[in-house]
Structure formats: structure tokens, C-alpha cells
Amino acid sequence: MYITYSIKTAFKSLIDEKWINLLCVLTVASSLIIIILMGLFLFNIERLADKLHERYGMVVFLDERLTENEIRSLLSTLQSREEVSSVRYISKESAMKELKEHLKEMSYIFDGLDVNPLTPAVELNIKKKYINAKNIKDLSNDLQKINGIDEIYSAEKIAESINYFYRSLTNLGLIIMITLTSGVIFVIYSTVKILFYRRKEEIEIIKLLGATKSFIRMPFLIEGSIIGFTGGLISIIVSFLFYFAITYRLGSVFPFVETLIFPTEAIFVFLIIGALLGIIGAFIAVGRLRF
């Protein structure tokens, strides 16, 4: 069998044409890096979006004069609503504390204050599937009618925007990833095509000597898969270093960064994807052989 010959020829070509192969591997790697980081970004955005949704809440301000019992029954009423996943009561005092924390250095403005001008409130966490402008509006209208509720802070626009922003990001990311994937195939295709043209004279000769199609094709397929695999390997390494650097350097500044996740399955997936794209590109490049 000629498989040893094919492998030898593939490696010889890889070395003889090291510049173009290197160029190709680097281009493939950088495209894959962008694909991986983009994937990582979307994967984590999805997780963050979930968290944000979990945290999204309405705030219901209560009449100051409600008794403890009245508050308790109000809370259970609120809790019983289908849309509500949890409720949290915020007293006048804890509201002031939260406000001061929010204002940070400017909290001195309340220093001279003797009375607490704030009202007690209830924070409602809304179930993810109900978070959209219409539902929030409906809920808010319903709650308005309940006795003891003074005012409602619902911010349906913010919910809408987060949803919209998240959807646009996902779509944009997917488009870029698909474009880049075809880019990777194209790059390997062109490279193998160049290598093919470069060995065209040689191939014409071995055709005349009686070589079969697979004898001619095999070295190119091997070469394409090696290029793709190497590109995948480099991209995985670089992306991981990048991920590591980001979580390490930025983690202390933005705590949410530390929660970013790099799924280990991706490592194997991208090695195989690299090699596969390589073989596909090479196969298209060699094309139909005529005798």
C-alpha cells in the first residue's frame, strides 16, 4: 500500500512549503480563536443573561401605615401571583442603608437628616419567562389595585432592552462565527489549491505513470487535516491563555469576570473541527481529477 508514501509526501510538502503552510495555519488559528472567543462570549452572556433575569425585579412601595400583619398578608398575596418567583421585604431602615450604599461618597447628603424620608418596599423577583414589557405592564396594573400598595417601580423598558440587547448579540455572534467558519474552509481550500498548483507538473507526470485518483489525492487530504488540526491546536491554546489572562487580570476589578467559564469539551471539539475543516477544504481544492 502507498499510505506511507502519501504521509511522507504530505510531510515533505508541509516542510518544503513551510511559509505558505505557516501562513495558512496562522490564519486558520486566528479565525478559530475569534470563533472560540466569540463562542465563549456567547456562552457566558447566555449564563449572565440568565442571572440578570433571575435578579430582575419589580419594586412595590408600601403605605407607611401598614401593620406587620397587613404586610405579611400582602407578601403572601404577592407571592401567590404566578409571575412572581420570590418576594423580599425592605423596611424603611434597610432602604436607607441600601440607598446610602448606592450613593457611596455622596451619601453624606443624608448625614444631617433626622427623619427617614423613605417608605418600606417589597422587591418582587419575576420568573424568567414572564419578563417582557407586556406581562410586566399587566402585572403592574393588577398590583396597583391592591390595597396598601402606594407606588410601583417596574422598569419594563429595561427588561425589554436587556432581552433585545442579548438577542442582537447572539445573532451577531452567530453570523460572525458562520462567516469565519466558511472563511477557515476557504483559507485551507486556497492553500491546498496553491500547493496543488505548485505540484501540478508533478501530478501530471504521475498521472501518466498510472497513478490512481486516491494516490494523487491522499497527500493533500493528509496535509489539509494536519494544517486544520494544528490551527485548531494553536487556537485552543491561545484562547485558553487569553481566557486565563482575562479572568486573572480583570477578575479582581470586575468580579463577574471570575464567573466566566471555559468548557473543557471545547478543546477536543475544536481539534476535531480544525482537522475536519482541513479535510473538507483540501477535498474541494483537489477537486475532480481528469485523466
Binding site: M1, Y2, T4, Y5, K12, D16, E202, I205, I206, K207, L208, L209, G210, A211, T212, K213, F215, R290, F291
Partner: protein
């Protein structure tokens, strides 16, 4: 073994072969001669399917060349060894690997390849240059590599196009003797040449082509 029936071949502007008919027996050794541009190389090309003919029919063994399927061509060519006029050596393979290629294509084991290639390189007096790059060798040495590659697989048919164009008279005689030996083992051999010395006194059949026709058939 090989039949040409009214074969014609045209290139864009002119006729290279016009209604050529002849027969070559299995095991025959035949010369084709004629002036430069007469169509000798073209005739050989038609036999190995390096070019298609426009009229007539060529039959080689069991193959009708006008009807041969593309997928069969590699196998068909494995029956043929070719000495190309312009050598067609692979520049980035050593002499040894250039010759071995003919056997690799035929799927032989590396051990068998080694034995056969060494043997044939000895026959053409090139064993000391086995690891050289063909491009570094003299014209005559290159020509002998091509001959070695054509005969190493002991094909049924050998087509030799101007196989001694770059060889001095003595080496030419060696090569013709080599081809004669192989012919004795049963291979059919067709040699295209413009130099009458090559076939004179061989007693073999000689076809002379000129103006796109076979103008004469003689004994060498």
C-alpha cells in the same frame, strides 16, 4: 496487440496524423522515424492516452481507446512504461525515488521496490548516483533515469521517445541492447527516433512518418 485503424489527429490549425493504420504484434520491437514535427511523439501519446485522437480507432490489448472509461485509465497505463522525450523527472525526488515511483504507484512493497530499483539502476549504469538529485546530473544520465523508470515495472508495452537523444554512440548501443533484452522477455517495444543509426542493422520493422502519413515501412 496494438491496432491503429484510420487514426487522425488534428491540432487547432494543422493535421498531425491523417488516416494512419498499422498493426504491432505482441512482443514486437518497432521503430518510428521521421523529421522533427512529423508526429512521432504524438503517435506515442495517442497510445498512452496522453492525447485523444479525432478519427478512427486504436485498440491496445483488450482496450478500445475511444471507449475507455476515465476510471480505467490509471490501470490501463500501468501496462505501459514510457520514456518521455522531455524526461518528465520529478525535480524534488532523488534518482532512486524517481525510479521507485513507478513501483509505488503499482503498490509494491518497499522491500521489493528496493531490490528491483537497485537492479535496474545497475543496468543503466547509475547505481552510484541513486541518491543524487536528477537536476544535478548530465543530460545523458537524466535520460537513463527515465529509461530505468520506464522498464523497472516490466510493463507489457514500452514506449520510448527519442531515448538516446542525449547519449553518445556507445551508451546508445547499451540502451538499445537493454531494450532488446526486455523485448526478449516479452514486452512490446516502440521506439520513436530521428536518428537512422539507432535502427540500422537491427532487422526490426521501421515506420517512417512524414506530412502526417506513414510514407514508408522498412526493415532496419
Amino acid at each position: 496487440m496494438i491496432y491503429f485503424e484510420n487514426v487522425s489527429k488534428f491540432y487547432d490549425y494543422h493535421t498531425v496524423l491523417k488516416s494512419v493504420s498499422f498493426t504491432i504484434e505482441k512482443g514486437e520491437m518497432l521503430f518510428i522515424t521521421g523529421p522533427s514535427g512529423a508526429g512521432k511523439s504524438t503517435l506515442l501519446k495517442l497510445i498512452y492516452k496522453g492525447a485523444d485522437f479525432d478519427e478512427g480507432e486504436i485498440v491496445v490489448g483488450n482496450y478500445k481507446l475511444s471507449q475507455i472509461r476515465t476510471s480505467e485509465i490509471p490501470n490501463y497505463r500501468k501496462n505501459i512504461g514510457i520514456v518521455f522525450q522531455d524526461f518528465k523527472l520529478l525535480k524534488n525526488l532523488s534518482v532512486y525515488n524517481n525510479v521507485a515511483l513507478a513501483l509505488r504507484i503499482r503498490g509494491l512493497s518497499e522491500r521489493e521496490i528496493k531490490a528491483r530499483v537497485s537492479e535496474v539502476l545497475k543496468r543503466v549504469n547509475l547505481r552510484h548516483l541513486a541518491e543524487s538529485n536528477p537536476m544535478a546530473l548530465s543530460g545523458g544520465e537524466q535520460q537513463r533515469i527515465v529509461i530505468a523508470r520506464a522498464v523497472v515495472a516490466e510493463p507489457q508495452i514500452i514506449l520510448a521517445d527519442e531515448p538516446t537523444g542525449n547519449l553518445d554512440p556507445n551508451t546508445s548501443i547499451d540502451i538499445i541492447n537493454l531494450l532488446k533484452d526486455i523485448n526478449l522477455n516479452g514486452s512490446t517495444i516502440i521506439i520513436a527516433t530521428h536518428s537512422p543509426e539507432l535502427f540500422k542493422d537491427t532487422g526490426k520493422r521501421v515506420l517512417k512518418i512524414d506530412a502526417s502519413k506513414i510514407v514508408r515501412e522498412m526493415k532496419g
